[in-house]
Amino acid sequence: MESVRRITRVLEVESSGAIVPIDLSLPTDAKECFGLQAIVVGLFPGVDSVDDFGEFSVSFNGKANHPVHQLVPYESAQSRQVSTTRIGLLPLSTKLTSGGRITGFYRDLERQTEPFKSYQVRISFNLITE
């Protein structure tokens, strides 16, 4: 029986301009990834909302499929309070092979002012499993 599952992985970004590798596996019963979302977790008082806080790239099935390479935005607390929309889910339709690795990277684009404050990036995969 098919079901829908959301898997989240957290990346730690500890320096300005850091490159954080992504290397993970998804549950073996995952058949398809139909959505992906990357969100910066943290508040940076000196930073306005920006579309290019970081960039991330993700390949599926041992680098056989590379559907995503995009910017990761940051929404300031002030914007978040008045905003009526939330950072959306990127729709995908990527078939997954059992045991295939997910690889890629996240890169900080140095949008914070000094001193640098460590933060997390939460990457969520929406999966169809059976």
Partner: protein
Amino acid sequence: MLLSSRGVADCYMDFFTVPLLGAEFTTPANRGWLFLVSDSLPQGLEIISETHALKVGASQPSSLQEFTGQLLVKLPEGATLDRLDFIRIIPTTSNEK
């Protein structure tokens, strides 16, 4: 194995050299895979591509470094590296149906 597992039946292969003429250098976009063969990389060197990004630390990378598409190369201050060499592979036919 590396290529067949990605559905590549045949490919074009050559050496690809990136001359480093400044602190930052961007290559033209292409659809090939680039496997880094240069060694003695300076600490702080960054090579960023569409699928993989490398920042050289205190030690040299221990595994095969594979990049795809367009590259952005950032040289650290004071580095004397003048070129980067890659093996470039461009798929010509695939097994995918």
